[in-house]
Symmetry: C2
Subunit: 267 residues, 2 copies
């Protein structure tokens, strides 16, 4: 008899800490990301930290509702029904709905990228990106996250965030992405002040291709900055002076669409 094993093994034992079921179901959804849009049961189990048999049972429920789908190869993916419900989020699709026509106008003029982002925690979340056929390589995808301190839209969102949050971000060591160059917090502070003064951010990035991003804030009915709009163009033949007014005008159009009475003055 081998009873040297101290670990008690009982059929049906619940997990030590007893995690709520809802959390585990959400962990299953969270196991998917941009590089893993399809997962087998085993992958799902490993990535979520849930035993396979439990993962299968929970996934079954999610499958039935439509939060997950399953292909012929038995791999799981996020379901369309979840996307349908998620499209009701005010800060996502709601905002997007209002912004899209204005973004289309901007795209037609610049023929490059037009971005719309909101702040989510310490990052920016790209809500929408319109990209013309011949546009330069894009670093970020809609639904993906971007750093606040090294993108045009991020700088705008940071500049107009409450000062407590700004200090929290400034307090940590910041590295420019994707160049991996450290950012001086004093310089960033000056940049943010200028963005607030001008109501406009101009951001340059060297890699992968040299680009310029010109970004402006979008206000809601209460005057709070809820999103940032920007165009991204190749640095070569860019005319930031000309792009500024165009972006600002489009951003004001979106703000008006959200119920803002008038665009807050700059300065």
């Amino acid at each position: 008899m081998t009873d040297e094993d101290t670990a008690v093994r009982v059929r049906g034992r619940r997990p030590p800490q007893g995690e709520p079921v809802v959390d585990r179901a959400l962990a299953l959804l969270g196991a998917f990301d941009a590089t893993h849009p399809y997962l087998t049961l085993s992958e799902l189990s490993r990535r979520s930290g849930i035993p396979a048999s439990s993962a299968l049972r929970l996934a079954g429920r999610l499958l039935e509702w439509g939060a997950l789908e399953r292909g012929e190869d038995a791999r799981f993916s996020i379901g369309l029904r979840l996307w349908e419900v998620a499209s009701l989020t005010p800060r996502g699709h709601g905002l997007r709905q209002v912004a899209l026509p204005f973004m289309g106008d901007l795209e037609e003029v610049t023929r490059q990228h037009v971005l719309l982002a909101v702040r989510e925690g310490e990052e920016a979340l790209l809500v929408e990106r319109l990209s013309s056929h011949g546009a330069v390589a894009a670093l970020y995808r809609p639904g993906g996250r971007m750093p606040l301190h090294s993108t045009g839209v991020g700088l705008v969102l940071l500049a107009f965030a409450d000062s407590g949050f700004q200090e929290q971000v400034l307090a940590q060591p910041l590295i420019h992405q994707p160049e991996k160059v450290p950012v001086s917090s004093a310089a960033l502070r000056r940049t943010l002040a200028e963005i607030r003064r001008e109501g406009l951010a101009t951001f340059r990035r060297g890699a992968p291709g040299p680009i310029v991003s010109v970004a402006a804030p979008v206000h809601d009915a209460q005057g709070a900055v809820v999103a940032a709009l920007s165009v991204v163009v190749p640095a070569e033949n860019a005319e930031p002076r000309l792009l500024g007014p165009a972006v600002r005008t489009a951003a004001r159009g979106i703000s008006r669409g959200l119920g803002a009475r008038r665009a807050p003055g700059a300065g």
Copy 2:
């Protein structure tokens, strides 16, 4: 003692049928729709059929993860984190990503609406809609559902669905939306055959404004029809003959982007 009440009332009694927790959590998410993007706890409780105390507890977990958000007025809405995860659905954002540039081209030419839809059950789900500023009134919104039998994209999706499913749809009484005119199943059968022959659907609607929709199928790498693309223009100065090739070309472009070797021939 009053014990005339036959219903046994015990503190902590579980619901009669004992619904799984995951289902209840999903029911909370399902309580939101296009006309109710914000809900109070009571509304959430009523619409989902879950007692307030349980609804609050479950909503708390969803809130913590980011599947729900809560405003200052204590009302709930769908959270951005859920939207972020949902953007990974292949049939939603994945498809959209490929289609967007082609849709942009079409919009620039027509200056009206460009739609992209997939089939979900017995309805079409509008994955994307680009709408120019001066476009005619739109009936459907992205993330919303459309009838298969009275929209351009719906007819395409129905025409290329497996015949078993087609019969299932044809077997039920169909009413044109939004005019409320009955659809003859024989006429619909002829229409579907023509759509399959031409690889193109032309649909006219009288209300709210007279419009013409020209729609074409989008194929995946295996040659299956996975989506439908269409333009919607005012009936007056429309030239369906000219729109057809444009829509078909754009749809083939998207199919190619999805990995289809060559567009299946029509005829």
